[in-house]
Amino acid sequence: MTTTAPSTSASRTADGTAASTGTGARPGRKRSRRTLTPGRRVPAGRLIGPAVVLALWAAGSAAGQLDPGAIPAPWTVARTAVRLWTEGTLPSDIATSLRRAALGFAIGLTAGVVLALASGLSRIGEALIDGTVQLNRAVPTLGLIPLFILWLGIGETFKIAIIAIVVYIPVYLNTHAALSGIDTRFVELAEVQGLSRPQFIRQVVIPGALPGFFVGLRLAVTGSWLGLVVLEQINATSGLGYLMFQAQNYGQTDIILVGLLIYGVFGLVSDSVVRLIERRVLSWRRTLSV
């Protein structure tokens, strides 16, 4: 729903102005109601805030107001990024981090969806799965790290497993809630229309649960990055977090900032991709919010 906000408010303002010029033919005071929406969007408005911050940062550094040891200048960070990319291990660190996140995410997503379907569509499945997952959810996943290290060793497997758990929980919870919260009016309709159970699931239950699934998916994306950052900074011998951890030991703030920026880019890109898919798949909802 939030993704549709821009187009909605834009069209409303357009309507408003069209209406007030239309009534201009009538003499006297025209009363056009004031819109309660914040008004037209500023083009590329979201970029203005970050741009201001960047400008302040650059100005502060140029004026010598910022301690370069604590906050290096933007150009220093940029130079470091280029140097790390061309001479250092940055490409392979990024690849390692991405691989961990992607594998963990894929496994967690699959598990979340499969379990949600099994427990949302069958009573036996629900009895077996739902309570177990609720229990799992009560334990903060990052608290499982010591146990998983003992079980799986400190290698890649344990990191991927933790990320998968961080991912599967929100996917499961939201998808399961959406599957079991299907509107009874639609159940009744499906009965009246003589749908078979597979048809009912495919044509009514699953499409109806997709909005809930996407809520879970977006939480999962955020969660997977969070899990990655924590894991890589606690115990890793490669990857972005390791790079930053080492930089911390040598007081290389610029390298830490490069790492943070890359994490930020990961987060932004993945969130945009999910939003894009969501907007495509749930295109029917766009008209609902008008």
Partner: protein, 244 residues
């Protein structure tokens, strides 16, 4: 010829001793009712008198309700609800075709949409339709299955007066063309008078009044014969009409 005569002689819906109760409170109390095939019947009654309960029983939707009695209804039954109940994630044509398959299904769906005046709106989303259009789409969805029995529970209850009048004409036309048996639940006495050939009043769990109405169509609510019927219906409903 044979199936035709059989349709005339055998009732489409046959209820014997139909009883339904919720938590020990009896809502339908031993209803006996025959609806002849092809008849347009309206069912009136107070709010809470059990009209929807009766309709849901005939539609086979009353799972888990205490009750007894015998129901026989045709194989192909369609239900029109008070809300259009279109699936918001399907465009209009797929909505109309919900539960209908076969290779000419799309063609039949288009034809049904054309019949209710929605030709060209096949690819619209339900949220883009007005209330009346959505209800017409729902009507097309129930028609496309060529029902022998059409059950409608206050299908026009949410529509404005003008749209309602046009929908009455449409429903009557469609009935004339396809001749399903119709059971229309409504609380609007005039709607029943304008549309139905038989009007039932549900009162205290039983059919309190069973009124045959043999007037030509299209009818005007100002028809004096209908006026007399209106008074009887209102009396059966316990309402006295002030002098008009």
């Amino acid at each position: 010829m044979a199936p035709h005569t059989e349709r005339l002689t055998r009732p489409a819906v046959r209820l014997r001793g139909l009883t339904r109760s919720f938590a020990g409170r009896t809502v339908l109390d031993g209803i006996d009712l025959d609806l002849p095939a092809g008849q347009f019947t309206a069912l009136l009654g107070h709010s809470g008198s059990g009209k929807s309960t009766l309709l849901r029983a005939v539609a086979g939707l009353d799972h888990g309700v205490e009750g007894s009695g015998e129901i026989s209804a045709p194989e192909r039954v369609s239900v029109v609800f008070q809300d259009s109940r279109l699936l918001p994630w399907r465009r209009v044509l797929p909505n109309v075709l919900l539960g209908t398959d076969g290779k000419d299904a799309a063609e039949r769906g288009r034809a049904a949409l054309a019949e209710v005046g929605l030709a060209g709106r096949e690819r619209a989303w339900p949220s883009e339709l007005s209330g009346g259009e959505a209800q017409r789409a729902a009507l097309a969805r129930s028609l496309v299955r060529e029902p022998e029995l059409l059950l409608a529970d206050e299908p026009f209850g949410a529509l404005d007066a003008l749209t309602k009048i046009r929908m009455h004409g449409l429903l009557r036309d469609l009935w004339q063309r396809h001749r399903p048996s119709v059971l229309l639940v409504t609380h609007d006495v005039d709607e029943a008078l304008v549309l139905a050939d038989r009007i039932l009043v549900l009162d205290s769990g039983r059919i309190g009044l069973d009124l045959a109405l043999d007037r030509p169509h299209p009818r005007s609510p100002r028809d004096p014969v209908l006026g007399a019927c209106r008074e009887r219906l209102l009396a059966a409903l316990g309402v006295t009409e002030e002098a008009a």
